[in-house]
Point group: C2
Chain length 239, copies 2
Amino acid sequence: MNLLLLKPEEQYSPNTARVTDPRRLRHLHDVHRARQGDTLMVGVEEGGIGRAIITELSSDAVELTFDALDQTPPAALPVHVLLALPRPRMLARTLENIAALGVKELTLLHTARVEKSFWQSPELSVSRIHDHLILGLEQARDTRLPRIHMAPRFRPFVEDTLPNLIENRRALLAHPGQSSACPRQLPLDSPVTLAIGPEGGFVDYEVERLLAAGFEGIHLGERILRVETAVVALLARLF
Amino acid sequence: MNLLLLKPEEQYSPNTARVTDPRRLRHLHDVHRARQGDTLMVGVEEGGIGRAIITELSSDAVELTFDALDQTPPAALPVHVLLALPRPRMLARTLENIAALGVKELTLLHTARVEKSFWQSPELSVSRIHDHLILGLEQARDTRLPRIHMAPRFRPFVEDTLPNLIENRRALLAHPGQSSACPRQLPLDSPVTLAIGPEGGFVDYEVERLLAAGFEGIHLGERILRVETAVVALLARLF
């Protein structure tokens, strides 16, 4: 937790906030070993960042005082990630990673090799997704939550939703064996849609549909990576 | 498991192998849903790769036949990673990732912010490390195991071992706030030593010692990433 991320309602005046939730309190006590008078970075969800002083600290609450939370969070990546729904534990880590890396739009997609049971996982609840995203933002000192979209049916998504999602954007399909290497250091002012398949990859039909829709196929080399590793490697290389 | 990686003793003739270990058998049965007559990629530890046919398959053993395992594994990354020992679960995933990404030399280092208890973790046993590396190789279709070195004391390591380890190599210290951005797409014929700190980072003294020893300080931008994420992002950007 490199940033204590406040919910808007926790900031009860322009210069003060109070946090009572056990997770963040425990982290302040056990990891930061925080004491009254310490300063730390705080930010408000969807808002600014600044330094705060701990004016009171107990096992039940922390009181914070600050001048102004007027620093802007780090720049977002200009990318909409279209990701075949990973297995629940991998989803959790991937949500944390994409939030930390600055992705602001993620669509979770059903494909032939996504197990149907994954769509019933408790990890897909709004609150669990939110929790993982918050961990990523706290790690990377960001305040702006990614928006998560669900596309539980491949064909209607490709026919009805995808055309808008790639209009006026560079659309990249990361899939082993495609002819072009992943491009590097794309300009931050030109938006990208990046599609990443499930464990085992997109099936041929899905690759064909996405290429026909306007995606360029790209690869990361000979090595096949786990999905959670590939997501990080692709974003680090692209931007 | 994109490659069935054979121990040398499992290849009992130039064209046949037999695997009886439960983990790989279970994976063949449950994930691959393999049947007699199927073909799959196999490789031998430290050796070549090729396609094999399953000639017999039971719950106790799989018999494989192949013409020649004469394909070379994917190129290694020309990097020695010097990593502050991560907490055990993060170590496990990082070992898998560095093996999958093609790192062949890893030194695990003690630093001020590494908890001493991490050095007592069962994850540091030779066999557990080996197991994680094998998972990474199976994922990335590689056969060459990384070599893992331990440096449980920072100062003797820096004074006695480090000079040889960075001689005639580019030495990069990844640390938030350093002045240069992480370089991109370095040539594969010039070796690099890459130092990565623990959660919470190297302390000032350690940064000074490494810079004095000849490291260049690099950063990945404003966002602070978890160690396991930073390792992947750095390697993807560097090579």
